[in-house]
């Protein structure tokens, strides 16, 4: 091939490359260059919307894992347990003004979800105390998960219903409504109400450790003391420092009769997933192995 032809072909393709580049320029810079109308969205903006949409999807999944236990399936709140989140005043600034929050709804939600509430703000209304959720503060979620969750919460902003303002301080707290009454099942009739409807994926699960496995017990003790003892007490009597604020009260593992009503598979299920109405967060983020170690340690209390 002669040199001239090579140069010509090379130049041709160099110019051709400008075509896709031009497309990308329009896609990415169309807004800045004024080529995209104000009603339209440029491609890069659509892409940003797509990714924030996916973030909301992730948040929805997290909400159903961690939050519905106290805040209700669709954030409608559970009377006596925790407030509604799907409420207009939380997003339009009225509530933030009331509590003199300097930032916006996003920062407020992120702060509250990440760090929880060290002191309950309305113990008169709600029994549950918001725990810390970000792993920066000892909770189970990564910061990016907190962000996704917050973007899911903020997505209520447009359609949130008007819920009556907060009742004045001193209003008697309604009794917490427990989750739906389980259908009675003769096989499980003498078990604890929480164990009536153990999902099939948990039924029949057995511990990978023997009850007298020393290494597992030691690991279980460490985990118990860091995660569980605050509510269930170092001695497992349900008398931890945080227990007084909780209703229903944390389980007492030294109560033999009570523990007989909770078979091992149900126990594992409760620790992993928690239950509507229970004050305990789901702990599955600890990983199955750690939970089993904690379980055999906990069940030793009643031996």
């Amino acid at each position: 091939m002669s040199t001239q032809i090579k140069i010509l072909v090379g130049l041709l393709f160099t110019f051709l490359t400008c075509l896709p580049i031009a497309v990308v320029t329009y896609n990415d810079l169309g807004r800045d260059l004024g080529m995209v109308g104000s009603t339209q969205k440029s491609v890069i903006e659509q892409r940003a919307d797509a990714l924030s949409g996916r973030q909301i999807e992730v948040g929805a999944d997290l909400f159903s894992q961690f939050c519905i236990v106290c805040h209700g399936k669709k954030g409608e709140g559970i009377s006596g347990v925790a407030p509604a989140l799907n409420r207009k005043d939380l997003y339009d600034g009225r509530y933030l003004k009331q509590i003199a929050w300097g930032g916006n709804a996003q920062t407020f939600l992120k702060d509250t979800v990440s760090g929880g509430r060290p002191v309950q703000s309305r113990p008169d209304l709600y029994a549950a105390k918001m725990p810390t959720w970000s792993n920066q503060f000892g909770g189970p979620m990564r910061p990016d998960q907190v962000d996704s969750l917050v973007s899911f919460l903020l997505n209520w902003k447009d359609q949130a219903p008007e819920i009556n303002a907060w009742p004045p301080a001193g209003t008697p707290r309604p009794t917490p409504t427990l989750g739906p009454t389980p259908t009675p099942n003769p096989a499980t009739a003498n078990l604890h109400p929480y164990c009536q409807n153990v999902p099939a994926s948990f039924q029949g699960k057995t511990a990978p450790y023997k009850p007298d496995d020393k290494a597992a017990l030691a690991a279980g003790k460490t985990a118990f003391e860091s995660y569980c003892a605050a509510c269930h007490g170092l001695g497992g009597r349900g008398d931890g420092v945080a227990a007084s604020a909780l209703n229903p009260k944390p389980a007492n593992f030294t109560d033999k009769e009570f523990m007989q009503k909770i078979p091992l598979d149900c126990h594992f299920y409760l620790v992993s997933e928690s239950q509507p109405g229970s004050q305990m967060p789901p702990w599955k983020a600890l990983g199955e192995d750690t939970i089993w170690k904690v379980l055999i340690y906990e069940r030793n209390f009643s031996q």
């Binding site: 072909v9 892409r47 990016d144």
Partner: protein, 471 residues
């Protein structure tokens, strides 16, 4: 290096920023990805060509050795970059890869140390990410520069690029050409290289803009292993080996014949399949020119590059290609991996992550439900059995497909007398309005449990936002 931050908490966010805020950010990412895949493919094809034409023979033996080093460097370049987006895809692909290193014998010493050095801890976290970043931007590129220089020097100054054997070794001096015949760099070589560079740049750019976008899955989550995770395609053969399709059955068979369990106490499958066999193969690959020379001497003949004189060599090359393809197939999820059938149905229609095909540069598939899109998913409860026959319209066809998958499982159960499949399986697809612009789609599968521990139910739930278009 300008917009990317190699930190566990920032990496994924910087990817999002690159894709959504930086002009030409996604273009650069796509070109980088396409270029990387093409580079790996080109290097492997080049090596194949050199092997088949016998170009590694004297005087080019050592050039071949540097070439094999460059192949490994190319793999490492691509693989070390794989982790950096810090999404589920990269996290688990690299977890699989480095877990092989963990079983390098002796496990307690070599495996432990390699794992610690690579991952910077027991699992991949901040330390591992930073290590892979430094490998990707400093160490491996430096090694590449050194070895490319040696490779090029040997070719351009010492022995020239190999010409077709028919020309270089032709007995007729009129036809014979010397490989060392000089070409002028200007204008011959430079114009040729520039022309091809221009053509390739166009192809890669156009492909990145119009066809392929580098995938970005959900943020890496060490607690959630996605179904069917795979290594990158050029390492699938090792993953195939790890599933142990040959040695383990053979040992089991021999053990069965002699009535002695060879597997239980003596055989460490990951160590052999993941470390020892690939290492030995690569060592042999390094030694190819020397083995070849030895073989020629042993047979007492003149070395020749022509295909007709090296039937054994060509056969070995062909066998290598065939086994590469077969092992790659073994490495994909199609072979010997299956979740429970209900989970597989959920995965087929509503995968947790968009599924990246094993063949490179084919766009990922996010499942038929996501592809249907927010608008076309009409709120309601759909009993799949009602859609067995009538299927007009895209949505009903999707339901019919789901029904077919469910019915297939109950038929399977009927045929096998409940040994496999899902007896009396029924499926319901529920689509709910969940929030503004957000729908919840749940595929609920119910069947008659036959075994202990079988739950008889499986729900696959995904949420779909109006704007999150999955192409």
């Amino acid at each position: 290096m300008v917009f990317y931050i190699p930190a566990q908490s920032e990496a994924y966010e910087s990817m999002i920023k690159i894709m959504t805020e930086i002009p030409f950010g996604q273009l650069m990412r796509d070109i980088h990805r396409v270029g990387a895949e093409l580079m790996v493919a080109a290097v492997m094809l080049h090596m194949l060509r050199v092997f088949l034409t016998g170009s590694y023979k004297h005087p080019r033996e050592f050039t071949w050795v540097t070439g094999v080093v460059l192949l490994i460097i190319t793999w490492l370049l691509s693989y070390s970059g794989y982790l950096l987006p810090w999404d589920q895809l990269s996290y688990w692909a690299v977890t699989i890869g480095t877990s092989m290193a963990k079983s390098a014998p002796p496990k307690e010493i070599a495996g432990y140390i390699t794992n610690l050095l690579l991952r910077g801890g027991d699992t991949i976290a901040q330390n591992g990410l930073l290590r892979f970043y430094l490998l990707h931007v400093i160490l491996v590129p430096l090694a590449a520069i050194i070895f490319i220089s040696v490779h090029y020097y040997r070719i351009s100054r010492l022995h020239g690029i190999s010409l077709p054997a028919g020309e270089e070794e032709n007995p007729d001096p009129a036809v014979r050409k010397a490989a060392k015949e000089r070409l002028d760099y200007l204008p011959e070589v430079l114009t040729k290289e520039l022309m091809w560079a221009a053509i390739l740049t166009f192809v890669i750019t156009a492909f990145s803009v119009f066809v392929f976008h580098a995938p970005l899955e959900h943020h890496a989550d060490p607690y959630r292993t996605p179904l069917h995770t795979t290594a990158p395609w050029y390492f699938l053969w090792i993953q195939g080996l790890l599933k142990d399709p040959i040695v383990l059955p053979t040992l089991r068979f021999i053990g069965g014949v002699i009535g002695f369990d060879l597997v239980k106490d003596f055989y460490d499958s990951p160590a052999w399949q993941g470390v020892i066999i690939p290492s030995v193969l690569i060592l042999i690959w390094f030694g190819v020119p020397y083995i070849d020379e030895f073989w020629d001497k042993f047979m007492g003949r003149q070395p020749s590059r022509q295909g007709k004189n090296r039937k054994l060599g060509v056969t070995v090359g062909m066998l290598a290609i065939v086994s590469f393809v077969i092992l790659t197939y073994f490495g994909t999820p199609f072979y010997a991996v299956s979740a429970p059938p209900a989970v597989e149905i959920g995965q087929e229609f509503m995968p947790e992550e968009c599924v990246l095909p094993a063949i490179p540069l084919i766009p990922d598939d996010c499942g038929i439900v996501r592809k249907m899109g927010f608008e076309k998913l009409t709120v309601g409860t759909y009993d799949l059995t009602a859609y067995a026959t009538k299927n007009s319209g895209e949505f009903e066809q999707m339901l019919a497909k789901m029904n077919a998958a469910v019915a297939h499982q109950s038929q399977l159960a009927k045929d096998s007398k409940n040994q496999s499949g899902l007896p009396d399986a029924k499926g319901v697809l529920v689509i709910e309005d969940w929030q503004s612009n957000l729908k919840k789609v749940s595929l609920q599968l119910r069947w008659t449990p036959t075994r202990a521990g079988d739950t008889g139910s499986y729900d696959r739930i995904i949420y779909l936002h109006k704007e999150s278009r999955y192409e």
